[in-house]
Symmetry: D3
């Protein structure tokens, strides 16, 4: 039977309780044979709403990606809806596939309906996410972004209020913007999708789960050589440069 | 352990040898737990290079989709790179996911590189396929279409010549058009991808396999309600209309 | 004096009263010399709101196209705003031009104003129609789709209510969405355009009439060889294949 | 029988021989009932390859448009493939339709094939024409521009050489760029399309003829109110402003 | 110290008071060393809301551009947000850079935020301006056009009402349309930007000032040869043609 | 007289000789009143061809940006044609403008011609750069990327060979791809633009100089409040978060 080890990197500060909760949650959606590990960062921030925070975390994220490949993980996930470092991770990983929530969720939503809306916390998030929607090819499928006026840290403080706002925003997206599918644009909105889906009657994508399913699929197809092409943008840096400039050593620590 | 039954509809005339060969081939790439059936059409044509042939086959394809769902299949694949009837199939299927090679292959290729080229048999195929590339959101990722000057029926007549032309076209796509990934734009080009991949050093997508992996993934995520949204373009026709106009009866015959 | 015979295929179930009413209506807008015939399908459905219904009708539509060309018609129209089978019809027709309402209406609207809105019956229709708008090149000119919450069969049941809703939707399109031209996105909305136009003061396109004018123009320019190019997507299937697979026989019955 | 008077404005310096030759040529393609007049400009230049020349001619073109409408013309054509002043002409014309060669030819070509190439005289022409292709919505359909290295005035000096170069460029467009339809991107390339078409076996669009057919169609549909919408970009200037600032007087002279 | 002479052409009827007021206003924003002249047209209209008015003014605008270059100006600005004649001006100017408000303001706004809204006087203006936004490459950055229901001549009649409406439209653009930057889409809205900016807390672009800054930058970089490329669309007409057809003489009068 | 201090961050390892050479070079193109400083990174790599290297450098780049603003610099430049960290830099800078070579060069090239080509070292660079071209809005203006088959470190090793290859690639871009302007897609290609420009007769953009001119312009317009909008994507992180997570402390060290 297939067995695959997948590493989910939560690109925020290490927090065993939070990471264990996420692991438990995601395992419910894992395919048979998937062994999922969730890790945080040594030097991460508490959230990634600001792009500078993601930038500060990129070096450690990329080290974790290199470590994961060396340790024999079959795939890795960078768990933030901005998809920070996805391009760079596919560059440093030689054959291990890497996925991220926005790319995975958009791909999946596109198979389930014509237009989707993305529920986000704050307006601040939209420009970078919208550029990703466009880059990934789904601009014509985007019905709207709908901010609910809460920061990431607010989501857990008052889950009921979060749920109410998500439901209200989703309804507006469906009725006013023409959305057929709803995407919860934050990995911290976990656990909401099932109840929303029941209330709304349309698919609601939990983006961390989407990234997991993509990671499983990509870890499977690598068996016959379908891994990121190395002749263009994902060409891996030469080993001697990584070593010489401390980028490999970092990875090994 | 998960078990899923997937129906691969080869939308050409029923041919047990051909379908068995395809089934054997695809099973090598199936996930554990996948039971794959391959069927042809009662009234199909020998190939689908002309759009009118696909149109002539659509009614039977849709019947087979309805039958498959009623018989408990977990997913269905419409096995032609034009993706004929994909929209209609997602409409008549109530909760069973349906995939098709072009959509699946393009989604997968987009995860593996920046730009891809699609090798096709004849120039004739390109306009409809190019519209699909655009509709699916991947126009910016398309390096080129490269026709090899052979019809579908020619592929099997002289596999060596086919292989030579595919290799030559792929090389040109990589060197002149900037392709990082190659897509074999026909389900009849099966078996070529592995050898091409070894010669070229870049991922070469067998589109039937890609559709299979998508079908497996979608059959899995339907467990938690991620099936095509029914409030928009994929709304299913009312049962009484299907019955009244013989579209359901057709399906049952 | 020029004389041209044009066949308008209403791709729904044969209904002599309905077809005669449509013929009478359209003849008011025909150019001198146009002889218009309107036919329905033997095995059509009562409406085409669902894509599967159009798929079920495609084989007969294409037979009628082939018959029409053999019988000496100068042009044919496929009378449904989804433009079902337009690509396939241009493939099987060797030199006879074929038009359809959406393509024709969008081309015409683009000459009359910067942005247009399309009034449709139900939200269900929008995704496929929007893809056509994009395919035909007019995405930048689309102000909005405005559904009026009625199915095709409802239009005739309560024409007054239909008229009221069309007027209200058109006003919203003009005032809120910036539309300069209104397109009635269904061939069953016939007869409404004149009164709407008077109330609104902007051009309101009857899409069946638009298709008729395009058909007349294309039937005229074919005199000097401007017919669909046969070296690419519209290449006609070889006669022996059509015969061999029963696609030509069908056409002759 | 329908009768319509159409004015073709050749926006270059008045030249009775040249204009009569053009009129004779175009009348062969006119519909029954069309009376065609061709006029030049009092103060025009010998060609319009430079945008400044078109700018210098715009005031007189717009006067001629206003005059034509007052004199009862049913439609007017601005005969240059840059479509100079088309927007402005639709603004000053109250109900008389105005067409121009690029818009008309692109619309027509889009009905006849998937991709087209435009043969132009010199590279200089391309940027402005390409912007028009994009503005009109046909960027996805453009296979290529192919310059033949001749200025407008060269076309007539050596028609044989012109014909040879057009044929060669068209062949390259078809074989290398994937064009299914050829557009002769200059109204001065008249007379070449028939022989090219015979050699090439694909439709070759004479853009002046295309503009004529569009003008005929638009002059016909105005009978039921389909004229440029006046609530947006084509809103006509108020009469008192035109009078006050001499723009109406100019028109009357 | 650098010294540069810049000509601002207000493409409306000569009005010394108005032009002096504008010059005084703009000089506050000029870089050290900039000598700014503002001129109107001999035969201009009082405003340019209608495209025909701009067309009527183009010949004189282009004469002024040629004169300016001959007189040693370092750059010229065509002061209307439709950017009338910008392409033509860059054609006739051999090495002197020319700028215009829409191009300059859009470029600048794109550096200051993700999405911008453009406040215009009347709906009439939007189509041509929207085409410019698209042509210049900023369609993805456009949050909205917001008309305030006033013509150009109304702006000065009741500045307080104008200010109120601009503020209200800007607030809606920010809160409902997602604008991060506001562009005042008319050179006649001068003086409003500072107060709006203070009320709104986001950058508000005065488009005449933007064009001035672009003109200064372009006049500086021409020192090392960065002037409009003359091998394509901006190729300058040959001197003998300009002379022969009176286009050079015009310029000198 | 205006005086402005501009910091050019060369995001590679500190190298006083290299940075001084660059400073000397750039000062030739600086406006009067500009004081330019060039700095490298403590922990940078020798080049940034791989995205992981840029990621590794982002934290220090952002610290330098914060330091620069606190130290009173009027603008900062991130000197690499990938524009690494530009979004993040505009986020952490409160009112100090930040520019980068690709954005600046593309904006400038768009003012100088219709289409441009970008000469790069290796094919590897293209995907990320192409995404930037698209994000910045200039996809329609891109004639081609032309790689010269050399890495960044090769440029200086054999400047003559570099010059020859740049000239050859530029000629091909002009003649085959329709480029009217050439962009040297690397800040290490400094010094080549003048000689290329003389040989080619078209503008050749040195991207570091372009970024400098943009920085000067933006530092000037900030005087009247035109700085990045802080209500959307460029919202600055709250001070207490930066402090708490060590991102501000880093900046101060």
């Amino acid at each position: 039977m297939t067995s695959r080890r997948i590493l989910y990197i939560e690109p925020t500060r290490h927090d065993p309780v939070k990471q264990e909760r996420l692991a438990t949650y995601l395992r419910k959606y894992a395919a048979p044979g998937t062994e999922l590990s969730v890790v945080g960062l040594e030097q991460g921030t508490a959230h990634l709403e600001y792009h500078a925070y993601a930038a500060a975390s990129l070096p450690e994220i990329l080290c974790k990606i290199q470590d994961a490949e060396q340790s024999g993980f079959d795939a890795a996930i960078i768990g933030c809806f901005y998809d920070p470092g996805l391009r760079e991770a596919r560059e440093v990983a030689v054959r291990m596939p890497v996925t991220a929530p926005a790319e995975s969720a958009l791909h999946l939503a596109a198979l389930l309906g014509h237009r989707f809306s993305i529920l986000v916390g704050r307006r601040k998030w939209i420009p970078a996410m919208e550029e990703n929607v466009r880059r990934y090819g789904f601009a014509d499928r985007l019905a709207s972004f709908r901010p609910i006026g809460m920061g990431v840290l607010d989501f857990r403080r008052d889950p009921e209020e979060t749920g109410r706002r998500l439901l209200s925003a989703a309804r507006s997206a469906i009725e006013e913007d023409g959305a057929e599918v709803i995407i919860l644009g934050c990995t911290m909105q976990l656990g909401f999708f099932q109840q929303l889906q029941e209330s709304l009657g349309v698919p609601v994508i939990d983006v961390a789960v989407a990234a997991l399913k993509h990671a499983e699929m990509l870890s499977e197809v690598r068996a016959w050589g379908w891994t990121p092409s190395k002749i263009g943008g994902y060409e891996t840096p030469p080993e001697h440069e990584l070593a010489c400039w401390g980028l490999r050593n970092q990875a090994k620590e």
